[in-house]
Amino acid sequence: MISVNALPSGIELAGYQVSLRPVEKADLNLLRNWRNQDEIRQHMVSQELISEEQQSAWYQKTTRDLTQRHFVIRYRNQSIGSANIRSLAPGCALTEASIIEPGLYIGDAKYRNNIVAFSPTLLLNDYCFYHLNCTKLVAKVMPENTAAINYNVKLGYKIINQDKLVEIELNKIDYEKSSRTLKSLLSRSPKT
């Protein structure tokens, strides 16, 4: 079970030991540094380095945009990565969207090769399927990024097209089937 809280700056999600809170101005330097790291950038469709000015313009635009939401991933009171969701239909608010494209990366190298990297995805997927009531999640992944393809296939995604990018999609039934065990491991009660 995830929690969804409305904050003045947007929606905060919590569950599976992590939380996703709206990106704030104070996060921008950290996010830009992560995003410009070679290990992160090489997996992006747009691999250009992001300048402070570009990021500032992006932040101004996205904070008012109802078709997308951007989050900082928090684990054990630390920011460890970035996550986002966007509606695929042009101009369609996320609350009305039937198809949503999620994206995320783990910026803190310590947590990239860790099972907790699944937590923000489970949280986002639950939010999209059970709170926003979308019918399908889709994503495009670079063919070389086999780790991301394998990661998503384990969560129930199916490959629907392989060209310059690998197109994958996930419906609610496949997600529920594929994520059950992982969810049970990542949502056990802490020791008292």
């Binding site: 030991q17 099972i115 065990t181 056990r188 802490p190 020791k191």
Partner: protein, 80 residues
């Protein structure tokens, strides 16, 4: 079977790797066999074989054989 033999056997069976490959330095995602699916099998086998219940923090922290020993140590399972 000693505790260390049991631990090596659990890792070897759960990950589908030879027992000789189970060293303290072996880490999650350091080889294709120790992926998230195998990690779930591993947790389940550790709990069954050592009769313990791990919490989510321990499941997340269990990123190597060395750390697994430390976590099992909290359940009074030692590997001297």
């Amino acid at each position: 079977m000693s505790q260390i033999e049991k631990l090596i056997s659990v890792f070897s069976t759960s990950l589908g790797i030879p027992e000789a490959a189970v060293t303290d330095d072996l880490q999650y995602n350091s080889l294709p066999e120790w992926d998230s699916t195998a990690h779930m099998v591993l947790i389940s086998e550790l709990e069954n074989q050592f009769d313990i219940m791990l919490d989510t923090d321990d499941i997340i922290d269990m990123s190597s054989v060395r750390v697994a020993k430390q976590i099992l140590g909290k359940h009074n399972i030692t590997f001297e």
